[in-house]
């Protein structure tokens, strides 16, 4: 996810959960169909074109879904292969997860990669979430020229290709910030820089939809500024903060470029780095097993987020998570 990941939060998510997703779904069926159908029924060519096109489009869409997901499903399947091959199915087995000397459980380098990825993602989430929430609150309420500059600066990491950011961080840690060793400390700093903007964008869009009324009501009723934040704004923000944290976690797990530029030796190898370096030199279904475990981790985080947010009835936060 890159990058990239995730790269359009400010343009993408708002539109579709505020206007795009709710409006066309609720209004058009009620409003446009009746207006659209009578003329379509009266003239047959138009009806045919209106009916046939979605079939082609639907086929294309489902083909796209198959194209984008089937390879991954097959890769997961091969992590359960009983043989060494990654191209022919030789029966079901869990040997690449545990049991085989080269399995994920037995190979220390694969175990280390998994542990590194998880620790890095947790640390990044713990730092980036509060930092991003504070920045979002500050930027949303603080007016002035400095604030506008800070705002533009905050968006820049989202637009920068990862290789530019990775090489810049690599050069600064090897030439200027020599007190930060390459490896996990540098990787955490780099991942936070990469992902703090996601939190800012999500929390700000939620802040904008909450408005300032609740807060001023609390202030009028005698709450101090900090008390109003704590008692009124934070509870309303919780779903967005949670969504932001999940995205930070996922983008940290997903990141390859920055982890790789800031990893000096085998001790700080993460799962994506391990997959990248081993897949051409030492391919084995154990790599598929490792990738499957990473996938299971992301799916677990996603499912957890969904359960928590659904109970809180905060469906719009879920929609915010989706496009990232």
């Amino acid at each position: 996810m890159i990058l990239p990941l995730p790269e359009n939060p400010s343009t993408g998510d708002r539109g579709d959960h505020r206007t795009g997703r709710s409006r066309p779904r609720e209004n058009p069926p009620a409003r446009s169909r009746p207006a659209e159908n009578p003329p379509a029924r009266s003239r047959s060519p138009r009806r045919r074109s209106a009916r046939r096109r979605p079939i082609v489009l639907a086929t294309l869409t489902w083909l796209y879904v198959a194209w984008s997901l089937l390879p991954v499903l097959i890769a997961i399947q091969f992590s359960f292969n009983a043989g060494k091959s990654r191209s022919s199915w030789q029966g079901f087995s869990l040997r690449w997860y545990a049991g085989d000397p080269n399995s994920v459980a037995a190979d220390p380098s694969l175990r280390l990669a998994l542990a590194n990825s998880l620790i890095l993602a947790v640390l990044t989430t713990l730092v980036a979430t509060p930092l991003g929430v504070a920045l979002a609150l500050g930027l949303a309420r603080w007016r002035g020229r400095t604030s506008r500059t800070a705002n533009g600066l905050m968006l820049l990491p989202l637009a920068t290709p990862e290789i530019v950011m990775g090489s810049a961080l690599y050069l600064v840690f090897t030439n200027l910030y020599l007190f930060v060793p390459l490896g996990r400390p540098a990787q955490v700093l780099g991942h936070v820089t990469l992902s703090v903007s996601y939190v800012v964008v999500i929390v700000r869009s939620r802040l904008a939809s909450i408005g300032e009324e609740y807060e001023s009501a609390a202030r009028d009723l005698g709450a101090g500024r900090v008390a109003a934040l704590r008692l009124v704004v934070f509870p309303l923000l919780t779903p967005a903060i949670f969504a932001g944290a999940m995205i930070v976690f996922a983008s940290s797990m997903d990141d390859f470029v920055i982890s790789s530029f800031l990893s000096p030796d085998a001790s700080s190898v993460t799962v994506p780095i391990k997959l990248y370096s081993a897949v051409r030199n030492a391919p084995s279904p154990a790599l598929n097993a490792l990738a499957t475990l990473l996938l299971a981790g992301s799916a677990l985080a996603l499912a957890l987020a969904w359960l928590v947010l659904r109970r809180r009835g905060a469906s719009d936060a879920l929609k915010q998570m989706a496009p990232m």
């Binding site: 996810m1 890159i2 990058l3 990239p4 995730p6 359009n8 400010s10 343009t11 708002r14 505020r18 997703r21 409006r23 066309p24 446009s32 207006a35 138009r46 074109s49 489009l57 639907a58 294309l60 869409t61 879904v65 997901l69 390879p71 991954v72 097959i74 890769a75 191209s87 930092l131 504070a134 920045l135 500050g138 603080w142 007016r143 800070a150 533009g152 820049l156 990491p157 920068t160 290789i163 530019v164 950011m165 050069l171 600064v172 200027l176 700093l189 703090v196 904008a208 001023s216 202030r219 009028d220 900090v226 997903d254 994506p272 990248y276 990738a291 996938l295 996603l302 989706a322 990232m324």
Partner: protein
């Protein structure tokens, strides 16, 4: 009565204080590193240790390395690399438009009851690790992999296609496969915002469905199309891992592969840093467009 507290709130030192840590963080770990790239690019190489020495003072910047990179990019060995990068990204982006636009259009307009499910499926790749998705294709594209099995069984080819050793088609397809989810989602959100009533009006005025699409939907989705293209092209220009994974051959090298080579592999880091500067300068227009577009989206919201 309500205005006075509002003014008081804006003058409060709490908000700058909240914004300060994050702003300082981005300054120290985004702006300063970028300056470090310039310092290394315009620095010199220590003749004794053969190591790059960054020059932090702009008055003493040495343009030799940057000049060398510029010259090689304009007429030397890096020229084909830049042209190839442009070609690969261009073709991949065209594929993204060809496949992604109809999918986004269908999702936004016609998906009906299945919309939630389809949206979840289209979004799923966002949550799947990029390298994992490439690994999946590496399994399928081996000489004896499923893709070749299928092609051989259907007698489309006589012998297995060698996909994974310097095949430019594989690189282009892999780039398109990797980044198309980033293309579909922003486009989907724009298409969903196109007002249905405008399309009705076009039909009432006698437009066929196709003409309504050309004259109403497409112009209205232009911004989304541009944003989606910028969002997709930017990481594609900076991608080196896809290329290494599915090809690994010098015949398909892209700019980012050269950056990785000089920065992590070679001893002449000032050349790598110069290439980063050159690539950033070339991508500046795209980045600026993206920033302006997201700024506009933000303003529409608030």
């Amino acid at each position: 009565m309500s205005r006075a507290p509002a003014r008081r709130r804006r003058a409060s030192p709490l908000w700058p204080a909240l914004a300060a840590p994050g702003t300082l963080w981005i300054l120290a770990l985004f702006a300063v590193p970028f300056y470090a790239v310039a310092a290394v690019a315009f620095g010199y190489t220590d003749p004794v240790f053969n190591a790059p020495v960054p020059e932090w003072d702009p008055r003493y910047w040495d343009l030799t390395a940057f000049g060398e990179i510029l010259q090689r990019s304009l007429s030397g060995d890096l020229r084909p690399v830049f042209l190839r990068t442009l070609l690969y990204v261009g073709v991949s982006l065209a594929l993204c438009v060809l496949v992604g636009y109809p999918v986004a259009y269908y999702l936004a307009r016609h998906a009906g009851r299945r919309r939630g499910l389809l949206l979840a499926l289209v979004l799923a790749p966002w949550w799947i690790n990029y390298i994992t998705r490439m690994l999946a294709w590496l399994n399928l594209l081996q000489d004896d992999g499923y893709v070749n099995d299928l092609l051989l069984a259907s007698h489309l080819v006589a012998e297995p296609v060698r996909w994974l050793s310097g095949n430019p088609y594989t690189v282009v397809l892999a780039l398109a496969y990797g980044y198309i989810p980033f293309f579909i989602v922003p486009l989907f959100s724009t298409l969903g915002r196109v007002d249905e009533r405008l399309l009705e009006a076009a039909r009432d005025l006698g437009c066929s469905g196709r003409r309504a699409f050309w004259h109403v939907t497409l112009p209205l989705s232009r911004h989304g199309l541009m944003t989606a293209s910028a969002v997709t092209a930017l990481p594609m220009f900076g991608d080196y891992y896809t290329n290494t994974l599915v090809s690994g051959s010098p015949t398909t090298t892209m700019v980012a592969n050269q950056i990785e080579f000089y920065l992590l592999g070679g001893s002449r880091k000032e050349l790598g840093a110069s290439l980063v500067l050159l690539l950033s300068a070339l991508l500046m227009a795209l980045m600026a467009y993206y920033l302006i577009a997201s700024g506009r989206a933000e303003r529409e919201l608030t």
